[in-house]
């Protein structure tokens, strides 16, 4: 059977670049699902800012016929009943067959034509694309879409699949690039006819590179970089072309972060660094057309950048009139949170948490950049601006660096502050925010976390686990809810970020969660020793001990009485316990190995000794022995939390 190709193009006003990939994935999936009964397969799914395009092949003329057996009256039924049944099926009694003592009718529903299915289903599939933010189109009570659809192409082979969305009907004509595409004599966009075979070539002739991979490859080659800014331009431009511009090297005196932020985030330019890692007075911009023969576009972009840099220089110069130290008092006028107070008060609290002169100095100045013109303009540069200003205002490199790093880590991928003072200020700032927010009841729940407290807590955990500082969680968390909140992040960190087994994390945390570097060491030890044959059986034995003690409601009241120990497994266990306890030293790995070496005696004990004997003194002494083992050997981890196979 001959098969057909399908082309669907949704022509839409410029869609935000960042929404295109998920939208296209959704559309591709929905169309693939729709085409399954027709045997069709999606072979191309591409999006540019002005079009969503799908090509599929292998579509049959129509879907498979459906057969259905309709059971009728028994063979013994009177003739009128049989005829009645047949009539109901739209046939005569002669068309019925017999099966298992009954009449039956094999009903064949012919599969619907592909065109019919596509016409019926595609409008809803297109309008069902989930967009993050939609508009009413055309107005109240109407549909919602990301931007108005302006044309639709839908071809099955050579034939247009007829449907319409909000008055826009399908056809076989597309539109090219706004400027590079065909235009009428009076410079209006000119529709161009396409076939499925010519589609991509027609678009290319009309200034559109359809495939994102081609646009990306072109940009990567021209820019010499590959990052999220490339992605943005891939989906912002139908024919992206990179070009270089320059700026006056005098602007290089401004903080590099400011220059890069203006270029990258405000103007979507690539900053250019030399081989020495220093910023060059150049930028790479991307235009949505093939070339710039007269240099007008380069000239225009250079002019805009100059204006932006002039603004930044103005802010810089105004800011230098007052030092950060002079600005600390101004923080009284900057609200941190209306129920908590201002940044001056926050500064004092952070300062109080810091533990040495460098971090205290950095803490004092840390928030002062919030009053600068530069940070008011470039809020994302808070901290960095302060750090740069501190350096030119004669603060020590250590203090400047700590101010610079105070907001790190900004995300899970971001590093913690590199310097000790930076870690101290960052930790104190985050801990203070957490304490204060918890104090006024701003506790994150579910997806609600308006003050990004989970991120703050994660930062605290990472600084403690990865940095130089030694603080216990109980020292930092002044209330139970906050301590539990932090513990939650500790579990998340060790399980999901560091990849430790969840039961090992539970076991280690149950034995003490205060010092996170210690937790990390104990976890690493467990992970290593866990592979050995004796570890899990010992863990299982510990769990058994814990159960026995809890069932007996054991309360330790006296030391082990050696005289009451029975010779054999019990005495052996005691001897081994005393020996291992005496030799317990070295790193956690060695300790765990020693504890695991108890396995044979523990096994022998449980095989040969009954704990709950009638003699109360003996029983109490046995429980005391078990309790001693459990409590002496649970400082690395609570083994009863380990999930063992048997």
């Amino acid at each position: 059977m001959a098969t057909h190709q399908l082309l669907l193009e949704v022509g839409v006003e410029e869609v935000p670049d960042w929404m295109l990939v998920p939208a296209m994935d959704h559309l591709r999936g929905q169309v693939a699902e729709l085409l399954k009964p027709l045997g069709g397969e999606v072979t191309l799914a591409e999006a540019t800012t002005r079009r969503l395009a799908i090509i599929a092949s292998g579509l049959g003329e129509r879907e498979q016929d459906q057969t259905q057996i309709v059971k009728g009256p028994p063979l013994s039924a009177p003739a009128p009943a049989v005829e009645g049944f047949a009539r109901k099926q739209g046939v005569t009694a002669a068309d019925l067959s017999q099966e298992g003592g009954y009449y039956q009718f094999t009903k064949v529903t012919p599969g619907r034509a592909a065109t019919e299915i596509l016409s019926e289903k595609l409008p809803a599939i297109i309008m069902g694309i989930p967009w993050p933010k939609t508009m009413l189109w055309p107005g109240k009570g109407g549909a919602r879409f990301i931007r108005p659809i302006r044309w639709l192409v839908c071809l099955l082979g050579d034939a247009v699949v007829p449907f319409a969305i909000n008055g826009v009907s399908t056809g076989s004509q597309t539109f090219g690039h706004r400027q590079l595409g065909a235009r009428t004599a009076d410079r209006k966009p000119q529709a161009v006819p396409v076939t499925i075979e010519s589609y991509e070539a027609v678009l290319e002739a009309n200034g559109v590179i359809l495939q994102a991979a081609k646009r990306r490859a072109k940009l990567v080659e021209e820019v010499g970089q590959d990052n999220s800014l490339v992605d943005l331009h891939v989906y912002l431009n139908e024919w992206p072309a990179a070009f270089r511009g320059t700026f006056d090297s005098a602007y290089l005196d401004l903080p590099e972060e400011v220059l890069v932020t203006v270029m990258r985030y405000h103007q979507k330019y690539f900053a250019v660094h030399g081989e020495d890692g220093k910023l060059k007075p150049e930028f790479i911009a991307v235009m949505n057309r093939k070339d710039d023969p007269d240099g007008l576009i380069r000239h225009g972009n250079e002019r805009v950048l100059r204006a932006r840099f002039n603004d930044a220089r103005f802010f810089y110069e105004v800011d230098q009139k007052r030092s950060l130290a002079d600005r600390v008092e101004d923080l009284k006028a900057v609200t941190f949170h209306k129920e908590i107070g201002n940044y001056y008060e926050k500064t004092l609290r952070i300062l109080a948490l810091c533990d040495d002169a460098t971090s205290k100095r950095a803490a004092l100045l840390a928030k002062a950049d919030l009053t600068t013109e530069m940070v008011k303009e470039f809020t994302e540069l808070q901290g960095m601006v302060g750090g740069r200003y501190a350096a030119v205002q004669g603060e020590s490199p250590e203090v400047s660096q700590a101010i610079y790093e105070q907001y790190r880590p900004l995300s899970m991928d971001d590093a913690i502050p590199a310097s000790r003072a930076g870690q101290m200020v960052a930790l104190a700032d985050k801990v203070d925010t957490l304490r204060e927010m918890f104090r006024i009841g701003q506790i994150p729940s579910g997806s609600k976390d308006p003050f990004a407290l989970r991120r703050a807590a994660q930062g605290v955990i990472r600084i403690l686990a990865e940095g130089e500082l030694v603080f216990s969680l109980s020292q930092l968390a002044d209330d139970d809810k906050l301590r539990e909140f932090l513990l939650d992040r500790v579990r998340y960190y060790f399980r999901d970020v560091k990849g430790f087994a969840y039961d090992a994390v539970n076991a280690v945390l149950a034995a003490g969660a205060d010092g996170l570097k210690d937790v990390a060491l104990r976890l690493a030890a467990i992970q290593a020793v866990r592979q050995t044959a004796d570890f899990e059986p010992v863990a299982a034995a510990f769990k058994r001990i814990k159960n026995i003690l809890s069932k007996a409601e054991f309360v330790p009241s006296q030391a082990i009485d050696p005289a009451l120990l029975e010779a054999g497994p019990e005495a052996d266990l005691h001897a081994a316990f005393v020996a291992v306890k005496a030799g317990l030293s070295g790193d956690y790995g060695a300790q765990l190995t020693a504890i695991a070496s108890l396995r044979p005696v523990v096994d022998a004990f449980f095989n040969g000794v009954m704990v709950n004997v009638d003699n109360a003194a003996v029983r109490q002494n046995r429980l005391t022995l078990l309790h001693s083992i459990l409590s002496e050997f649970s400082s690395v981890a609570d083994f009863s939390e380990i999930v063992t196979v048997n």
Partner: protein
Amino acid sequence: MPSPDHLYYQDVVLTLKRYWADRGCIIQEPFDAEVGAGTMCPETFLRVLGAKPYRVAYVQPSRRPADGRYGDNPNRLYKHQQLQVILKPSPADVLDLYLGSLEAIGIDLDKHDIKFEEDNWESPTLGAWGVGWQVMLDGLEITQFTYFQQCGGVDLDLIPAELTYGLERLTAFIQNKDSVYDIDWAPGFQYRDVRYNDELQLSVYNFEMADVATLWESFRLHEAEAQRLIEGFKALETPSRRYPLLAAHEQVLKCSNCFNLLDARGAISVTERVGVIQRVRRLAVGVAQAWVVQQQEVVA
């Protein structure tokens, strides 16, 4: 006819007005009260409500006291001129019409880079929002394009397109000037000659001399007057066409201007800010809702 070689500032304005007049827009004059943006004028704020089609274009001087720079900054102005175009409902070729307007003022789009970059607009004080783009010409934002969705908290019946051209920027681009003050306004007159005093003196007033107590008092008086008028309308048994909701709207604009001046003066703390915005918003929403009711009455 303006010279094709050198378009003065006023030629840009006149050409764009002619262009939109030829496309069915009423050419209105600026609204005669202080506003922060052309959107706040009744020709936009109230006209976009309801189901009646409308097309209008007007230049609106827009006051942003906090953006004043005493005439020192080449790109920032206390008061800038916006060309505001409202096409309700938005026609299917709206973006082509817009691009045509750029060509009309001599921008050859075959030689420049034009991009529509996502930029959604929201005005908390007006209870208004929309989705759209900032239009970038060789990296310079020259126009804000918005498909209005809500105004005064009311869903719009017909989605209008709002085009806001920054006239100084656009002209500086066309004339290749680095400072708006160097723009040639008319033969023999630069932007500086026409507007410098205005920028300098009003910056001095807004930042240094505006009396905070007086401004707060003005704010309260205008707020009370707007409130009184809105309540009066609500109390009517049948909404009357002669009831002065337009006057109530003017009072809201006065409030908004007092708010902007207080803000520039540094008299509103971050904490207070949200509350004051809420107060203006409540009035704006009140006027918009009443206006919808009154207009329905007129049609009926």
